[in-house]
Symmetry: C2
Subunit: 703 residues, 2 copies
């Protein structure tokens, strides 16, 4: 692959980008696509006019969205997307600044010593930026904890591994345990139930109802027999009767007794104060650490209900199993990667055309040849890489994570390791020098080998930045899959699409690893192949606009982790920085300058020390909530006399079963009950914010 | 080195053992040596007749001590040495049983498959034993927590990183913080003071006093000018006046105000209940994790006072520095090891005798030659190894550990890594095959190379077991250093030796790594060189007798960690087991049996799973105390009406300054005040249990 290949690839990608972005600016102006491109706005401000746009304007590309994305302030982003969104944007901005600094430096670099100085400057500026980012995100996280309105998750502890006893139900055991050991602070609890027949029927019925409701009434009579196969209406009727009988009974006793058999050894325990919950969550409860395992509960919408019924004793086994599965998956992925690598090598291509003769003619054409060696490899790799996040998400779900944000974070780490290993290391190592898939022959030679291998792969990484970076940003803003779904539902199924049913949460697990991979490539190529930097600069600039636009318009915020993923970003950046320094060590080793190498080693040590300092100084806040803050919030609540009100709110926050939730919200008429409706299962990826309101209305209206 | 070398070495070591053990059985009967060989008994039961032993019996070797050591029950050991001692003996017994099983197995092993089966059996029996040991030691640890009388350390939290404020003293800050955030449970606190002039004078004076007191009164007039250089009596007088003035003032205010300038940002904070202390210790207090760092306080005698004045911000830096220092030390130690390895190789010896001609004649003598190749190497290695524990102890002290037991545990881990790396791996790798000091050329070949290298070093390990194992056990029981000190003080200095001044605590940091190294050698050699097993069997049998004797008679128990070192033992045993399995994999690889290798891999996975299970099931109890137990103990105290009494006891438990401690104990007349006297500095290794009683008497008598 040479410069002309690179230019071919750049040309194709720039064309794709321009086309897709223009298309986006047209499509977003069509009122019919509002629920794809303005989902968040529609969900949060449902009654909003689409504005008067002339027919001509509607079909002309415009740049208004760029201006809007550029002008949005950090406060807006915080208000709309929470700490998570601001922290995410910080990745883009930080890298952009750093890349800019590196780019200007790379033009002034002549000679070994200037190189060495440049490395010092890059490392220092990176560390300063990392420090200030970590500090400000820690501050934001703390402000998020103190500033938010009374959050049920602050008062709630999830307890798992409730021991089984022949005399008591799990619920009684929980009550006994906590009223014995936490008599002053224990408020009440809510058991977790395994899915039973009623739940399944409920779910069926709800899905059915939504489908029925979304069909235009005019088509209802005609389309019903086709859309719903015969007898499918039956569970709906059953459910209706059932829900009716339940809501007519004044107490929940009957329902609970029928569900007692399905009780899981897990419960949400509510406490009177935030501090009491914190304490109960952090202390080792029992002398058998597998019993009475407590941790702070996730936010109500964040709970991943189906994993709560997993016995706690299995969790460690599941974690190991998924770890092994991820590693196996990572190595199986070597097959497509080596295939891709083969394509970038001319001689392999010659072999291929010799074996498959009819390809010979096609490959002889210069343009096709350039596409195959310059553009195709990174596209193939990218397509294979699209399968990775869902797989890792599946692994993380199997792992037994109890919240959606935790699952996403776990998937994010897996995807990150995966991409850095398979895109960076395997390409570098299997690529030009070593040919076979052997690891370094010895640790001592690793820096030298890396220093030799990284520059030879620079053009591949450049095309990767173009195809996976630029093109996937255009895809991100175009949202092809929801667009097609929307089209299909609207014109083929003729159903009315509610914006809340297609609202998505921000896909941290795919976007963070992608950004971090580019950061990694930027760092490691910065010294030997600085020509990649302008491409990265453009990518980060585009990313800034696109992600801001998406946060402002598309993705909804259902739960908030308070920037809990930041330590991953920080550690990954430190790793990239260290690898850059190791490569520099290799370069000086190749050029035989032991003195310059000697100057790099203290830099490596200082970077490690800096990382350790940050770990000590900031990371505990991302794992545990500070007692001081929570105690002050409790005291404030008491002064304002909000305690009773909060307690009532908490009690109804975590209800697993929609019927019970409905029942209770009717009985207690609480302001929070609007938020209590959420369901078991893994639906937030496709459906997003769901509300049971339509369902409730239906049972009433049918009745 | 061949079999005759081995026999020479065995002969020498057996002779040394027999001589030393006989000598011990004579020396222990001499009344003059009682304070060396019966220190613990003398300290705990001071008025005990030495019994009537005839002159003849006193000089004839006897085996009474063996019978006594053998007959002692586990309950006696527990009563005398606490959980730590029982757990330590468990290492010996467990390994003994396992070794015995392995030994009998090794005779029945013919063929590859039987080998494979044997490995399964060894692994299973080891895991079963490890599990039951972990379980029973966890149980003992919990029983130790519940069964012990009210322990001040249960109610106390050590807080470090108290923030500096211009308006408040540290003491006021602590009081303000804890009475604001823990108003119901906070009792009082005790600041930690940096060493000031008064302390230093006190220390000088105390040392002086002890020296003066131990001198026989008849020699006092004559020896004083020689023992104490001129003017040295001066600080003693100063102190005397000072102590006088202090004890005459009714309040401690004056002293405290003079010390306020020396306050450290650390304090012991006392709580009303155990549970409150536990909670305060485990919660993240402040949003800056470097401030208000809390942890459960060590037992009063366990506190390592001089490290408490280290600012908490330094601790992480100190930890990294000592880590680097230990690693550097570990690699510097390669020099003597390679020298030792050179000696065991015949050709090296030939080279040596060619270069230094006069050695030629000496080395030609067969016996000398055998000594040089068979016995000398392990002796040299052993002598060098004697320098390791003190060095590691120094590192652990510099690390900033706040308790003596923690320091010992940290040193124990360092020594363990050190010995296993330098004695096992370096010998195996630098030894026979690879010659140069290169690590494995690739990870894939590691098992094969290990499988080739371990058997060739088996004879060296056998002599190592003989010299470092058998001989050092004899040294352990002989206690040559205290014996010589005792002799020197008695007959040269003519001072009266108080048993409490030479009482030692059990040297876990030297003995645990030694035992674990032999366990490691036993495991790894068990398949390829089972001839080492009988030597190990004898070693463990001897160790059983010797350590029991030492625990019963010699070492005192000043503090108790409750078997906190057990996870180290467990992890080390698992590591050895895994390495054995990897070596077996290499053997089957050499003998080209992929099917048998295929049977080993699940075994490795199962062992890893077993380890992970144990980690989940038991290790949290070794890190944190279970809340349930502490709450129950608190409730029991309340029922028995002991709360007030306990509170008074706690307040006086942690006093750093002997004067204050004296003062308070006079004022409050508490039963616990007997234990409150202890001093700053690192003296327990040499001095052991010290009491301030004589000092107090002196101030009175002089007054």
């Amino acid at each position: 692959m040479d410069v002309s290949d690179l230019l071919t690839s750049a040309g194709i990608n720039i064309a794709i980008c321009v086309v897709l972005l223009s298309l986006y600016s047209i499509l977003r102006k069509q009122p019919g696509n509002a629920c794809v491109y303005f989902t968040r706005r529609l969900v949060s401000e449902p009654v909003r006019g689409t504005g008067d746009i002339s027919c001509f304007e509607r079909f002309v590309p415009s740049t208004g969205w760029i201006a809007k994305a550029w002008q949005a302030t950090d406060e807006e982003i915080l208000a709309v997307g929470g700490v998570d969104a601001v922290a995410f944007m910080r990745i883009v901005v930080f890298r952009f600044t750093n890349r800019l600094a590196m780019f200007f430096m790379s033009f002034t670099v002549f000679g070994l010593w200037v190189h060495c100085l440049a490395l010092y400057l890059i490392s220092c500026s990176a560390c300063v930026l990392l420090y200030s980012d970590y500090k400000s995100i820690t501050k934001m996280r703390l402000a998020h904890i103190t500033g938010s309105p009374p959050n049920p998750s602050h008062f709630t502890v999830l307890v798992r591994g409730v021991p089984w006893s022949p005399d008591n139900s799990y619920s009684n055991s929980v009550e006994q345990f906590f009223s014995t050991y936490y008599p002053e602070s224990y408020l009440s609890h809510q058991m977790v139930y395994g899915s039973c027949t009623v739940d399944k029927l409920m779910k069926d019925a709800e899905r059915m109802y939504r489908m029925l409701k979304s069909i235009d009434p005019r088509f209802l009579d005609r389309s019903l027999p086709y859309c719903i196969p015969g007898g499918a209406a039956h569970p709906f009727m059953v459910l209706n009767l059932r829900a009716d009988s339940v809501s007519s009974s004044t107490s929940m006793d009957r329902l609970q007794s029928s569900q007692r058999r399905k009780e899981c050894p897990a419960a949400f325990v509510f406490f009177r104060t935030r501090y009491a919950a914190l304490v109960a969550a952090q202390v080792l409860q029992s002398s058998n650490p597998m019993l009475w395992v407590t941790e702070l509960a996730p936010e109500p919408h964040d709970v991943y209900w189906s994993n709560l019924s997993i016995p706690y004793k299995q969790v460690w086994l599941r974690k190991i199993t998924t770890l092994i599965a991820s590693v196996v998956f990572m190595f199986l992925f070597l097959l497509p990667v080596t295939f891709v690598q083969g394509l970038t090598q001319l001689e392999h291509l010659d072999q291929l055309s010799r074996r498959v003769p009819f390809l010979k003619g096609i490959l002889k054409q210069e343009f096709i040849h350039r596409v195959v060696t310059g553009y195709l490899p990174s596209v193939i790799l990218m397509l294979f890489l699209y399968a990775v996040p869902p797989t890792m998400m599946l692994f993380s779900a199997m792992e037994g994570n109890i919240s959606r944000s935790q699952r996403k974070r776990s998937a994010c780490i897996k995807v990150l390791y995966f991409t850095i290993w398979n895109v960076f290391f395997v390409n570098v190592l299997s690529g030009s020098i070593i040919r076979q898939l052997t690891v370094f022959s010895s640790f001592k030679d690793a820096p030298t080998q890396l220093a030799r291998a990284v520059p030879t792969q620079a053009t591949f990484f450049t095309t990767y930045v173009l195809s996976s970076g630029w093109a996937s940003l255009s895809c991100e803003i175009m949202q092809p899959f929801p667009l097609i779904c929307n089209f299909f539902r609207k014109f083929i199924l003729r159903t009315k699409v509610e914006p809340s049913s297609c609202a998505l949460t921000f896909p941290h697990h795919t976007e963070i690893p992608r950004l971090l991979l580019f950061v990694h490539i930027g760092f490691t190529c910065s010294i030997m192949a600085p020509l990649i930097l302008p491409f990265l600069l453009v990518f980060f600039f585009l990313a800034f606009l696109v992600y801001r636009n998406q946060i402002l318009n598309v993705y909804v915020r259902k739960y908030e982790s308070g920037g809990e993923f930041w330590p991953i970003v920080h550690n990954s950046a430190i790793f990239s920085l260290l690898l850059t320094q190791v490569i520099a060590l290799g370069i000086f080793g190749i050029k035989r300058s032991p003195v310059a190498s000697g100057f790099i080693i203290p830099l490596i040590l200082l970077t490690l020390l800096f990382n350790e300092y940050c770990r000590q100084r900031f990371s505990p806040v991302f794992k545990r909530r500070p007692a001081q803050i929570l105690i002050e919030m409790d005291q404030q609540d008491e002064q304002l006399g909000r305690k009773e009100e909060i307690r009532n709110q908490i009690r109804s926050a975590y209800f697993q079963n929609p019927i019970i939730s409905h029942q209770v919200s009717i009985n207690s008429n609480l302001p929070l009950s609007r938020n209590t409706s959420h369901h078991q299962g893994d639906e937030d990826n496709l459906h997003g914010l769901k509300s049971l309101k339509p369902f409730r209305n239906s049972t009433r209206s049918i009745r």
